[in-house]
């Protein structure tokens, strides 16, 4: 079965995010007042496995070993099974 996977990697709460701070200051230059700006990396891919549990286990492993650095990052995994209707359009 095919799954769409989306991994969101963000800095841990409380960690300084210089890129987000710069964006926030730049928005202020244009007159937009915003706060709490964050930047998040999104990595998307497809994977073929028997069930959601298998996908979750493998993608968690990917996050721990490469996609994130557990010292500074949190990650969130979204798994969406590809619906048969999508398969039908092939």
């Amino acid at each position: 079965m095919k799954f769409n996977v989306e991994v969101k990697v963000s800095l841990k709460k409380g960690m300084l995010n210089p890129e987000a701070k710069t964006i926030e200051r730049s928005l202020d230059l244009l007159g937009y007042k915003v706060s709490n700006t964050k930047t998040i990396d999104i990595i998307k891919f497809d994977i073929e496995k028997n069930n959601v549990e298998e996908v979750e286990a493998e993608v968690t492993d990917m996050c721990e070993r490469l996609l994130s650095n557990p010292v500074i990052h949190d990650y969130k995994i979204d798994i969406i099974p590809r619906k048969p209707a999508c398969e039908w359009t092939k």
């Binding site: 960690m15 300084l16 210089p18 890129e19 710069t22 070993r65 490469l66 996609l67 650095n69 010292v71 500074i72």
Partner: protein
């Protein structure tokens, strides 16, 4: 002394490091990223640059290449390993040193001469200095802000090697810019000692780091 200089796609300080190793009397040899048998080598330098275009995070992709297995084998034999700039980021990503180097507080590429304090002389690379001495070596990085979850542990275990003296150009925790592993044989540093290896360049304080291999 046969010292390996690791080359990744995107390494760009490898030739400088090679020349300085020759200057101090070592026998440098380039090692390509896919070579994992490093048994002949007496030490390793992971030079600076932008391995794999800094994709994902600086050093993250280099940290999972075959040559890293070879480096880990050498570390088991207590052979010295020096990671400079991108090399330091790679050692952080592997987890061979305690902490990581992340985007500067002011997120620009910072290229300047800095004064550094020698905080420990127990590593092979700083053994010829006097503890507390100030040296002059340039930095060149955008992702060099040292961060660790437990800085007190590093102090207790004497793992802080270099600290910025007067000015901290990247906002690192406690002005730290170089740390070593528990043994002291693996050292990661953001400043470029190879760029301070001749009076013509403005300083030769960096030479002693390479003499440490001899």
């Amino acid at each position: 002394m046969k010292i390996g200089v690791i080359k990744f796609p995107g390494s760009n300080c490898d030739r400088d490091v090679y020349d300085v190793l020759k200057l101090v009397g070592a026998k440098p040899e380039y090692i390509w990223w896919n070579n994992k048998d490093l048994t002949d080598f007496d030490g390793i330098v992971i030079p600076g640059g932008f391995s794999y275009g800094d994709y994902l995070r600086a050093g993250s992709i280099a940290s999972i290449t075959p040559v890293i297995d070879g480096i880990k084998d050498l570390i088991k034999e207590e052979k010295p390993v020096l990671g400079i700039c991108n090399g330091a980021q790679i050692l952080g990503e592997i987890g061979l040193i305690p902490g990581v180097f992340i985007t500067n507080e002011n997120p620009k590429f910072n290229c300047e001469w800095v004064d550094l304090k020698i905080n420990t002389t127990r590593t092979p690379f700083t053994k010829d200095f006097k503890k507390g001495k100030t040296i002059k070596i340039p930095v060149a990085h955008a992702e060099g802000r040292f961060y660790t979850e437990d800085v007190d542990l590093l102090k207790d275990q004497d793992q802080i090697v270099l600290q910025f003296k007067d000015k901290n150009p990247n906002g690192s925790i406690e002005n730290i810019t170089s740390v070593c592993d528990e043994s002291g044989y693996v050292c990661a540093m953001m400043p470029h000692p190879e760029r301070a290896s001749d009076d013509l360049l403005g300083s030769k304080d960096g030479l002693k780091f390479f003499k440490g291999f001899i």
